[in-house]
């Protein structure tokens, strides 16, 4: 080692962490995910407040009671909120600009989050009607809906 400059003091430490889990979605959400493989949307109604949850959660978050039974909803709905993502970020799956939206299925009371495509982002608006575009080989996954595209029918 040269006697010119002493090595710098240690100021940082790498501390990588990696943990692996086996995740289960639970009974209610598993039923929803399985229905997706059949291109079906399932919802669940609360017996007290009558709210319809999509996906079903097995309980009503408002009343704190267990819910049973599901029913099928159409794969159409309404954009209840959205944002246009313009800034690229690490791990981004879709090219910018793209529309991330909350979409309430017809008959549901809470929205899901998904993409809206086949439309100029500037034309997306709250209240516009959309329909799910399904993948060719459905899996028990939200990605089995590839995105939502605009419906010609009148806005909600």
């Amino acid at each position: 080692m040269s006697e010119a400059a002493a090595p710098e003091s240690v100021t940082m430490m790498d501390a990588p962490i990696r943990l692996t889990y086996s995740y289960t979605p639970g009974v209610a959400q598993s039923e929803f995910l399985r229905a997706l493989t059949e291109r079906r949307i399932l919802g669940q109604r609360c017996s007290t407040c009558e709210q319809v949850y999509v996906p079903p959660r097995g309980m009503c978050a408002r009343d704190g009671i267990a819910l049973e039974g599901t029913f099928e909803l159409p794969d159409t709905g309404v954009v209840s909120g959205f944002c246009i993502v313009n800034i690229p970020f690490a791990g981004q799956a879709v090219e910018c600009p793209y529309v991330s939206a909350s979409i309430t299925f017809d008959g549901a009371d809470i929205p899901i989050f998904h993409l809206v495509q086949e439309i100029d982002p500037a034309a997306v608006h709250v209240g516009m009607r959309v329909q799910a575009v399904w993948s060719e080989e459905p899996q028990p996954s939200m990605q089995t809906i590839r995105y939502f595209r605009p419906l010609e029918a009148a806005d909600a």
Partner: protein
């Protein structure tokens, strides 16, 4: 201090839960605890939970628990990334303010979805220890070796704790492990991390529990026999394992003294000792002689849902007192490696 009592307790059987989510496990337990309390949900002025996001492997995982609570209209709510016993401590402290009379405490966790001994490594010093990845079993084994070296306890003493716990758990429908066995039989088993054998260690299980606390007049109104919290205290020791005396539990001793544990008889003690040698250390620290029934539930060696087992100790002790099987007892909870942090709760029936 304002009088606060445990007025109800509910728990789920500790199992390896394949199908249900944490919230699906928790909801019926919350429902039972509130129903059994005789207190309407709207009367509960404060709700607090204990859980650990690392069990689910998701940041803010604890928030999902609120789905089971029914938090509408909006509620006063809190959370600790700790065993539910500390959530109960917060609820007890909150009730001291005097503006509300009832609190709901709950805890939940699925340990089986991850590698629990590895997950627990993350509670260790991030600079000196965690990068070596000593797992929770190995770390506990270091304490067991130190205890044996100190000379007052033996491997047979540890096996007796495990055997007694398994036999007592046979009458506990919520226990994960139970059986009619003996220290002799258990001592034949191989070591997993010397000097610990499998039965000296807890199983990884999933579960939830809930307690309703009520103050003064409300407790007397709703409960046939309110179980009063006569004292509650918790203390913590230094983080560095090598700087502590692992063979004694000063924090347990101090917490028990501050809570007034030995001011009167102790009929039963539910001690959170997930490793058999830790029960020996805790009994020494609490000065428990043969007069006290230790872990009639079977204790954490027979059911150890992480983040829940400490709250269960309080619930199990309180339930026995409420049923008239005992008058006064203590419940203990622990957190951190090798009994680093300890809580003692003194309970007495009306």
């Amino acid at each position: 201090m304002r009088e606060v009592a445990v007025v109800s307790f509910a728990q789920s059987p500790t199992t390896v839960e394949d199908a249900r989510s944490e919230v699906e496990i928790l909801q019926p337990v919350l429902h039972q605890a509130v129903e059994r309390s005789g207190i309407a949900r709207e009367q509960i002025g404060f709700t607090v939970s204990g859980s650990c996001d690392y069990l689910a492997g998701q940041p803010f995982a604890f928030v999902m628990g609120l789905e089971a609570v029914g938090a509408w209209p909006p509620i006063r709510e809190s959370h600790v990334e700790m065993d539910g016993a500390w959530a109960l401590y917060e609820a007890w402290a909150r009730l001291q303010h005097g503006d509300i009379d009832a609190a709901l405490v709950y805890a939940f966790g699925k340990s089986s979805t991850g590698d629990l001994p590895k997950v627990m490594t993350l509670q260790l010093d991030p600079y000196y220890l965690a990068p070596l990845w000593p797992d929770a079993i190995s770390v506990a084994a270091l304490q067991a070796r130190a205890l044996l070296d100190a000379g007052a306890h033996t491997e047979r003493d540890m096996a007796e704790v495990a055997a007694r716990s398994r036999r007592d758990a046979a009458s506990n429908p919520n226990a994960q492990v139970s059986g009619d066995t003996s220290a002799d039989a258990l001592l034949q088993e191989p070591y997993v991390s010397t000097p610990l054998r499998a039965h000296d260690c807890p199983s990884a299980g999933d579960g939830s529990a809930a307690v309703v606390l009520a103050a003064g007049a409300l407790a007397r109104e709703v409960a046939e026999r309110p179980v009063w919290i006569r004292g509650i205290d918790h203390r913590i020791e230094p983080h560095a394992l090598g700087a502590r005396d692992l063979t004694t539990s000063a924090s347990t001793r101090i917490a028990a003294a501050a809570a007034g544990a030995s001011s009167d008889k102790i009929d039963l003690a539910e001690l959170y000792a997930p490793f058999s040698h830790q029960e020996l250390i805790l009994r020494d620290a609490l000065g428990l002689n043969g007069q006290t029934a230790i872990n009639p539930s079977g204790g954490a060696l027979t059911a150890n849902p992480m983040m829940v087992a400490g709250l269960i100790r309080i619930g199990e002790a309180a339930s026995r007192i409420a049923r008239g099987e005992a008058d006064r007892g203590l419940a203990h909870a622990t957190s951190g490696p090798c009994l680093q942090q300890n809580l003692v709760c003194v309970l007495e029936g009306e």
